[in-house]
Symmetry: C2
């Protein structure tokens, strides 16, 4: 994939979303000795960076494909983002969601005008269900990360961050399937090749860390973590090839660290951040950059069931 | 007071704080038929717009006054903002706080390097205590709203909003002592005289609404409301004279409406907003502007005890 694809995606997205804010926290800067730039994708349209990749991927479909419509399986941010992007582009969207997915997630996709089809995730394969629809209705499947245009779209968040923050010495980005990290790497290669890129995974779901160490894609059981956006079992060949060649290191974070980070964001920065969105910031103390380094931190999203969020945040003394 | 004073304040503040973000919510726009621009002063340095007025007022002191130091009484955002601004300007600051003020507020002022003096609010007068220090140590008292430079500083938030959002048909601003509203009016008079200005008070503390109706300053008992930033008993002659001549209307909001608004901000916009910061947004349904109007809403701050905030937000079904 060419780094230039991120520029093309950015041009396309400029018409529908303004840049998300970059915020700083003076106390944290003093404590760690860095200048830290938080890129707030929790304040992005649909509450997560996923809108970027979904919109760009849909915008690049042929007229025939747009007319036929798209399909995705996701109970999370990709589904919601795709539903919103499809509405804006006047494309019909079908989202497969497990029947035990939180009602609020079903509602938000339906509110965007998507057709939501529930399935029994213990007895039905979402891949098979989606493949049937692709076959029967001629729909195009939009995967959550394993797609060049999705990756290019996700990369625009870090492209913006460079434009907003100027020179950066390192950037921390969460990793699920690796779409955001590989897109971010493409943006880095284009803008500031000397900036170091770190991926951050849940400790319970460190498949990409293992994969980088082993030199090949490692598949793990569904990770047991509150970071629901990073519960992927493996990266894809495309995201892994970009990550493997370019990443400085993959760091890991426990759920307990995520919960403390969630509370810190609420108290100190007045932000609601979902568990996955806390991964990158929680890894800041693990960095061993020289004092005064300029560090970018990507807050990936803020979509979290408020009752769960309050339970976690309230559990910290 | 001249509207130009807001421009001078903005020039001074540009060196220490970037513009705060302006965010939008597509669903709310569709629901109400307006284009709504949320100015996020909860994301301001020290968590509230108060930093603007405090910093500008301190920066305008003479060298002799700066050397002698400043004093304020406040258990809230003004105290914290003043402590931070004083540290940045290398001025010593003394803040009187009631001894039953939340420990976190005492800590945050002390962390900024201020001297915090506790007093018994049932038995001691903070005005008298501060006056003693002014006399004994030659300190300058920085009031929370009744001061031209404080007002000019607060006005820079709406000045920025005009620069960021372009033409606006109306702006909603919360009212405690009226420093923010009168500063906002000066900015409006300078930038877009045709834009209508609305103040929003707690229903239990509508002294400014009563004052505007009566044509003179009305003083009320300390209002019983969760909007602790708007528990003032009366506007000052300076803020009232500006408000009286220029405000379109003063609207009021119940605590119950504030709590629903707090939850909406958390769920829909991923923002932690303190009760006072919810006043302006909660008044949106009361507006009767024509469809398509462009409305500015000032979110004044996000400093709230997280346990209280979660209690309120969790109480909404």
């Amino acid at each position: 994939m060419s780094p230039q694809s991120v520029l093309q995606a950015a041009e396309c997205l400029a018409a529908v979303v303004p840049p998300t804010p970059v915020l700083m926290h003076e106390g944290l800067n003093q404590q760690l000795g860095y200048e830290i730039f938080f890129k707030c994708e929790n304040l992005q349209r649909t509450g997560a960076f996923k809108f970027r990749g979904a919109y760009y991927a849909l915008s690049q479909l042929s007229e025939k494909e747009k007319k036929a419509g798209v399909v995705a399986y996701s109970s999370g941010n990709h589904g919601r983002a795709l539903a919103c992007a499809a509405r804006l582009l006047n494309i019909s969207a079908t989202i497969f969601m497990p029947e035990d997915a939180p009602a609020i997630k079903q509602h938000s996709a339906r509110d965007e005008g998507a057709e939501v089809i529930l399935y029994d995730r213990h007895r039905q394969s979402r891949e098979a269900l989606a493949a049937e629809l692709v076959e029967a209705r001629g729909l195009t499947l939009i995967p959550p990360f394993d797609h060049p245009n999705v990756i290019a779209g996700q990369g625009t968040a870090v492209l913006e961050l460079f434009q907003q923050a100027g020179k950066l010495d390192a950037i921390l980005v969460c990793v699920g399937g690796g779409g955001l990290l590989s897109g971010s790497i493409l943006a880095r290669n284009l803008m500031q090749p000397e900036c170091e890129m770190f991926g951050v995974e849940p400790a319970a779901g460190n498949d990409v860390q293992q994969s980088v160490q082993k030199g090949e894609i490692v598949t793990i059981p569904v990770p047991d973590t509150i970071a629901d956006g990073a519960q992927t079992r493996a990266a894809s060949p495309l995201t892994f090839s970009i990550i493997q060649k370019n990443v400085k290191a993959i760091l890991t974070i426990t759920d307990d660290e995520l919960i403390h980070q969630m509370r810190w964001f609420a108290e100190q920065m007045k932000l609601v951040v979902e568990p996955t969105g806390c991964l990158a910031a929680a890894a800041l103390p693990q960095l061993t950059m020289k004092q005064g380094s300029r560090i970018g931190v990507l807050i990936s999203g803020g979509n979290v069931d408020l009752a769960s969020w309050m339970h976690w945040v309230g559990s910290v003394v």
